[in-house]
Symmetry: C2
Subunit: 219 residues, 2 copies
Amino acid sequence: MKNQSERAYQRMREKILSGIIVPGARLVEQALSEEIGVNRGDVRQALSRLCAEGLAAKGEKGGFFVRQLTDKDVEEIYEVRYILETSAVRLIIQRAHEEEYRQLDEIVDHMELMAGNNYMLGVYEADLRFHTALVKAAHNEKLFDIYISANIPLSGVHGWRHEITRIDKDYMRDVSEHRRIVEHLRRKDADAAIHLLNTCHEDSRDSIDPPDPAPLSNR
Amino acid sequence: MKNQSERAYQRMREKILSGIIVPGARLVEQALSEEIGVNRGDVRQALSRLCAEGLAAKGEKGGFFVRQLTDKDVEEIYEVRYILETSAVRLIIQRAHEEEYRQLDEIVDHMELMAGNNYMLGVYEADLRFHTALVKAAHNEKLFDIYISANIPLSGVHGWRHEITRIDKDYMRDVSEHRRIVEHLRRKDADAAIHLLNTCHEDSRDSIDPPDPAPLSNR
DNA sequence: TATTCAATTATTGTATACCAAATTTCGCCT
DNA sequence: AGGCGAAATTTGGTATACAATAATTGAATA
C-alpha cells in the first residue's frame, strides 16, 4: 500500500467483493473514511475508480452504492467470461511455456488438497486463482487487465458470504476437471480444453443461489 | 454533465484521446483544475478514473501521466480488439435485428459520402462509430462496456492529431469492405464477416505511423 | 393504529487553505 | 558544456466550511 487513496481502494474493494458491504448498500463517505483512516477526498478517489471498474455505481440522487447485479448482468458476465477464457486458451496453446503449465498444475494440487479436506472456501479460492492464471498464461497483458478489472471471476459469487455454500457438491470432480484442462492445454487440444472450461462454468452457475435481497437504504 | 468531477473526466478524456495532451505528458493537477474550472479534488477523482481505464498512469515518482503505449501494448490491443469484435460478430448473428443492420448500413452510407469527398477525419470517425455499433449489436452490455472502457477503437490512433494522415489511402475500398461485412452479417456468415474485419485491422495497422516521440517532462 | 407532514439530522458536492516531502527547474559556477 | 545547489513547483495528504438536498424522526392528525 503505497498511498492512502490506494489503501482506501483496496479496503473498499475487499469489503465489496467479500460481501461485508452488501450489494445495493450505500457507501457513506465519512463512515468509510473514518473506518479506513483516510480523509474523504481519498475515499472519493477510490469510489471513482471502483465506479469505473463496475464494482460501485452512482445513485441517481447522488451518492455511491455497491453495484447491484441483475440476473441479466450475471448472464452477460458469464458470456464475457466464456469469450475471454476461450480466447485465452487459444493463445496459451500458441505461446505458453512449460513453466506456466506447472504453475497451473500446482494450483490444481492445492485445490485437490483442500477439496480432500472439505475446505470449500479454499477450493473456491484456488478456482479463482486457476482461472486468473489461465488468462495470464495467454501472454497478453491487456487481455489480462480486462479480465481482472471486469471482476469477471468474482461476479458470479458477488456476496457469496451470505449464501449457504452447497455442501453436497462434488469438489473432487472439479479438481479432476481442472487437471484435465491442463492436460489438454499441454497436448495443444484447444477444443477439448474449452469444452471442459465450459463445463466448469455451467457447474458454478448452477451452484449459485441468488443472493439475499439487499436491504436498500434508498434507490 | 451532472457534476464537476464528471466534467473534469470528460474534458481530460477528450484532451488525451484527441492528442491535445500528448502521450507521456505530465498531468498537472492545478493547471488542469484551473483550466477546466473545477477544484483539485475533482481533478484527482477524474485522474483516478482515467487511470483505471488505462488512459493515464501513475508515475513511479508520483504524479499522473498520459499513458504511453508501447509497440507491445498496441500489438496486444489489436489482439484484444480482434477477440472482442470476433465474438461480437458471432453473437450478432444469433441476436441482431434488422433494425441494427440498418443502423450499420447508415453508418457505411455516411462513410461513403465522406470518403467520396475526401473527408479523411470524417471517414475515420465513421469507422469508429461502425465498430462501436458492431459491438453494441451483440446485445451484451458488459461486452460493450469492456470494449468502450478499454478504449480499443482509439488506441491505435492515440495521438493521431500529430501524424500525417495518409492521403493516398483508398478509402473507397474501406467503404465497400464495411458494406460487405454487413452483408455477411445479414446472411449469417460469421466466418466471412470475421475475415473481412480482420482485413480492416490489418489495413489500419499498416496505415498508422508511430507517433512523434513525446516530449517527456520526466519519467 | 396508520398516515401525513413538518422539523431535524445526515450526507453530498463543492470549495478552500494548509503543510511537509519530494521533484523539477533554473541560474550560477567551473 | 556540464555539474551543483537554491528556489519554485507539485504532489499527497489533511482539515474545515457550507449550501443544497436527502433521509429520518417525531409529533399531530384522521
